[in-house]
């Protein structure tokens, strides 16, 4: 073989702590290496040209680049060698930046390690084989999971681009968290007034198929060819008949049902339409409260329904849809403040969460937009907001900032003053984070024009004294203890991962961080892609973010899908498992351990039963190769022999 080695300086990133000249010099002595050089930026155009010229001039049939992590530039260099006539898999990368120069300061040791890594890459590339991708047809439907504002935006953009969209929402209506909000910062736009028309667009778009009150049961397949099983949960109301007239809600005798839309601050009826602007505007029964389900008799709604839509016997239904790409926009959930004993653990009626407060402020909320505190329905005059409840708190397992609380606290304080002019709001905060457009000005307005008093310090305890809530905390600017008597306390509960986010990630085979937020493919340059081809992220499922950022990501994910679908054929990755039929002993271990169901049994022309890999289903995870006792199943480009060659190159140096 004739192998060329290219050592990158990466400016001073690598060259600063690695003697790159020496690495290039050493590499010349490795078996099969006929050309070795170093360059300032190998990924730059002249750097790539140098590789291509060397391939032609030196008749190279294998290339090793020692530079950064393959995550970013492996594809770059594969294209480079391909353009010079080599098979793109006759290339190996040694990571001497993240694995060497960035983690060590001892230049001598770093250089030695870099030489080792290059030697290993050279040993591996000598065993590389040309691999050829296959192409397959793409199903151009897209699945959007989550019908909040991010998911809706993604669905609308895809649908406007001519794609068929399947939108799955677990709640009875789309709209997400934004539908519950009263106003939005920093413009004090009415939330539902700007969201409502978008919801109608989604509901009426001819390219969008809406499954609300539905959840993802199972996902199989791969980019371009996913098969999705969707569980349509039983609503006990035939939605093909229901007109959303609301008569059932008027007559339902069970009026104490928990109302998730109003965050439990007021009850609703057992059969209900979640809110007036709901899309679809259809009723559903909550069997936990419905007398027909609890006591076995009632049937009032069935009698009153003018279109006979009630069906107490309804069962969950599983439907299957085929799609080529998936946009995940499952949003977030809110920190459960009842975990904090010193804030009353949820037992005080007048200590509420900020999303509950949104519902109190909202004209279509249970108090018709009048701020009345839950305990006695009196108008509160002193309101205390507590920031960072379940944010930036290591002891509660939520060290991250929830991004949008500072802003909505300012908004809620301003609205409070609008609603009750003789009221006084206080905010306990850690830092004010208002980096968005017009955000800082907004917070200043709350302080300067609306007289909201900001106290920098944490709250240590909230307790009841008479009909007041006492908030005890510190003022770190004055260096003193503070005690305030409030009529109402609003806790700005932080954003946490949506319930079931981890389970869904496993169905989708995407990764998540320790808090359950999904991990994007690259934090800077691939913010809406995941490491699973064909799965994209939008909105707060990737991390807490406000409405404009969520909408932006929704559109970004849609544009990624549209560009993916601009081709009719996709290439499959040839780095997948392959069975040596001579060695296979039909022990079935690979079949049983494969997480993708990508291995089946087949009969060879000689009549031998062997394992066989379904090429488009295999994701190249390598579990089968670790399981196979005789080593009959091997992952192309990562065969036992290639890995052993690397190990040997290291130890026998």
């Amino acid at each position: 073989m004739r192998i060329g080695v290219f050592i990158c300086h990466c400016g001073s990133n690598i060259a600063g702590t690695v003697d790159v000249k020496k690495v290039a010099e050493e590499a010349k002595r490795f078996p099969h290496v006929v050309y070795s050089t170093d360059y300032m930026y190998t990924c730059s155009e002249p750097g790539q040209l140098e590789i291509q010229e060397a391939i032609k001039k030196e008749k190279l049939d294998g290339v090793v680049v020692a530079s950064c992590s393959p995550r970013m530039h492996e594809n770059t260099f594969r294209r480079t060698v391909e353009k010079a006539g080599l098979n793109r898999y006759m290339f190996e990368m040694a990571n001497i930046r993240e694995h060497v120069s960035w983690v060590g300061v001892d230049k001598e040791a770093n250089t030695k390690k870099a030489i080792d890594l290059v030697r290993m890459a050279v040993a591996k590339v000598t065993l590389n084989q040309p691999l050829f991708p296959k192409s397959f047809k793409v199903n151009k439907n897209v699945l959007v999971i989550g019908g909040g504002v991010a998911g809706m935006q993604a669905a609308l953009d895809c649908a406007d681009g001519g794609l068929k969209v399947i939108l799955v929402e677990k709640n009875p209506s789309i709209g997400g968290k934004m539908a519950k909000l009263d106003k939005t910062f920093p413009t004090i736009d009415c939330s539902i007034c700007i969201l409502g028309p978008k919801m109608v667009d989604v509901g009426q778009h001819e390219n969008i198929k809406l499954y609300t009150y539905s959840e993802i049961e199972e996902i199989s397949g791969y980019v371009g060819n996913y098969e999705v099983k969707i569980r349509k949960k039983a609503t006990y109301v035939d939605w093909t008949k229901c007109t959303g007239c609301g008569l059932c809600m008027e007559k339902c005798p069970s009026k104490k049902a928990f109302d998730p839309f109003n965050e439990g601050i007021a009850p609703t009826t057992a059969i209900n339409i979640p809110f007036p602007q709901a899309i679809p505007k259809k009723a559903k029964i909550d069997p936990n409260y419905c007398r027909q389900f609890i006591k076995g008799k009632c049937g009032v709604c069935a009698k009153i329904c003018p279109v006979q839509a009630i069906d107490y016997e309804m069962q969950d239904e599983i439907v299957t849809e085929k799609v080529g790409a998936i946009i995940v926009a499952t949003g977030y959930s809110l920190f459960d403040h009842t975990k904090i004993k010193e804030y009353g653990a949820g037992k005080y009626l007048d200590v509420i969460t900020s999303i509950q407060y949104e519902r109190l402020l909202n004209a279509s909320g249970p108090t018709s937009g009048h701020i009345l505190r839950p305990s006695d329905n009196k108008e509160p005059k002193t309101i205390v907001f507590v920031a960072c409840v379940g944010s930036r708190d290591k002891s509660l397992g939520v060290p991250y900032c929830s991004n949008f609380c500072c802003m909505y606290i300012a908004k809620q304080a301003i609205l409070t003053k609008d609603h009750i002019p003789d009221s006084q709001s206080y905010v306990f905060y850690m830092d004010i984070r208002a980096p968005g457009k017009g955000y800082e000005e907004f917070v200043r307005r709350a302080q300067e024009e609306y007289g909201v008093k900001y106290i920098r310090g944490r709250v240590s305890r909230i307790f009841k004294r008479g009909d007041k809530m006492v908030v005890r905390g510190s003022d770190t600017l004055l260096g003193t203890q503070v005690e305030l008597e409030a009529d109402l306390v609003v806790l700005a509960t932080g954003a946490i991962a949506e319930e079931g986010a981890r389970e869904l990630a496993e169905k989708l085979r995407i990764s998540y961080d320790p808090y359950g937020f999904y991990i994007e493919s690259h934090p800077k340059l691939r913010p809406v892609e995941t490491n699973t081809a064909g799965v994209f992220l939008a909105g707060a499922c990737q991390g807490p973010k406000d409405i404009p950022a969520s909408v932006g990501q929704g559109s970004a994910a849609a544009s990624k899908v549209l560009s993916l679908f601009s081709k009719d054929l996709l290439e499959s990755d040839p780095q997948i498992a392959h069975v040596n039929e001579m060695l296979c002993v039909d022990c079935k271990k690979c079949i049983q351990t494969c997480p993708y169901g990508a291995i089946e049994e087949k009969k060879t022309p000689m009549g031998k039963i062997v394992a066989s890999v379904i090429e488009t289903v295999c994701q190249g995870c390598g579990l089968c190769t670790a399981t196979c006792p005789p080593g009959a199943i091997q992952l192309q480009q990562f065969t036992d022999n290639q890995l052993l060659a690397e190990v040997k190159a290291f130890f026998h140096a």
């Binding site: 496993e506 320790p514 040596n580 001579m582 060695l583 296979c584 002993v585 022990c587 079935k588 271990k589 049983q592 351990t593 494969c594 997480p595 579990l623 399981t627 006792p629 005789p630 080593g631 009959a632 091997q634 065969t639 036992d640 022999n641 052993l644």
Partner: protein, 319 residues
């Protein structure tokens, strides 16, 4: 023939029409050596024996006769191999006829050899808790427990876990379970260097005959074994300690969650290397991590035969 042998004979006779052949135990070259007996027709049964010297795990043959209808005589320990093979889908329960023998233990010939010259044994018998061995010039009486194979001293499955016919009464386990991993625990008390030296010494005797692999009921790869393969080339033919250690480690890893503790690997080792210790260590790990013992439950999925993102007792994220 004893009553028990008569009964087994009778059962096999009746079942012979249903199977291609039956694997039982037959008379060997002397009273203490028994051989596997393949019964194709009635007259083959003349050699049948069933006694304390029936040491073999005949389930080892099953992997080679997947497509045939086979009858087999199994002790408790052997039966676990049958169950595990069925669990793994390697043999078909419908193709099997199983005669189960409740067992109170088998003799370790190696232990006997340490106590007397066994080259001229003329008679061997069991009287309650004693074993009497006669040669042309002496008669020796031993406590049975002193001669039993180690695995019998902690046996928890004296009665087969699977059978079509059971010959004799069910025996409840009476041996102390705590002894099961005692050989491993005692070894682990030693300093790491001592252990290293121990294995260096023991394994350096290995002659790479692969008897341990060939006798193993769970070693299904046979001629394709990675220990002899050039592609993938995990092991060279060099006769050095690293390769010899590697052989045993590969065997143990390939048996993770599959080893039924029959101890055949160590019994057949011509160099008397205590390789069962390595398997027991693996079994201990599997039991701790997955609450799983191989070959007990037909319906159970072996822990390494399934894919789970998070294992209950493996806290990868906390490493």
């Amino acid at each position: 023939m004893t009553d028990r042998e008569e009964k087994i004979s009778e059962l096999i006779k009746n079942e012979l029409n249903n199977v291609d052949f039956f694997i039982a135990y037959g008379r060997g070259y002397d009273p203490i050596h028994v051989k596997p007996l393949f019964v194709y027709e009635e007259k083959d049964l003349d050699d049948l024996v069933m006694n304390i010297f029936c040491v073999h795990n005949n389930a080892s043959y099953l992997k080679t006769v997947k497509d045939k209808k086979v009858g087999i005589v199994v002790k408790g320990c052997d039966s676990r191999a049958v169950v595990q093979l069925i669990q793994e889908g390697l043999i078909n329960r419908d193709n099997l006829r199983i005669i189960g023998i409740p067992c109170t233990g088998v003799i370790s010939i190696k232990k006997l050899k340490e106590k007397m010259d066994i080259s001229r044994v003329t008679e061997a018998k069991v009287e309650s808790d004693s074993v009497i061995i006669k040669t042309s010039d002496e008669e020796k009486r031993f406590e049975k427990d002193d001669l039993l194979a180690d695995k019998c001293l902690w046996c928890q499955y004296p009665t087969p876990v699977i059978y079509d016919h059971l010959v004799g009464e069910t025996i409840e386990p009476s041996r102390p379970k705590e002894l099961e991993y005692k050989i491993v625990e005692e070894m682990e008390k030693e300093d790491l260097n001592v252990r290293f030296e121990y294995w260096n010494k023991e394994l350096s005797r290995c002659i790479r005959c692969y008897a341990c692999r060939n006798v193993c009921p769970m070693c299904v790869c046979q001629d394709q074994c990675v220990m002899e393969s050039r592609n993938p080339h995990w092991i060279s033919l060099k006769s050095n300690i690293t390769e010899k250690v590697m052989i045993q480690l590969i065997h143990a890893i390939h048996l993770a969650g599959r080893c039924v503790s029959c101890g055949e690997c160590e019994r057949v080792c011509p160099m008397d290397i205590p390789i069962f210790k390595i398997k027991q260590k693996m079994n201990q790990i599997v039991e701790e991590l997955f609450d799983y013992k191989a070959g007990i439950d037909l319906e159970a999925t072996p822990p390494l035969y399934t894919f789970q993102v998070e294992e209950a007792k493996i806290k990868e994220r906390e490493w």
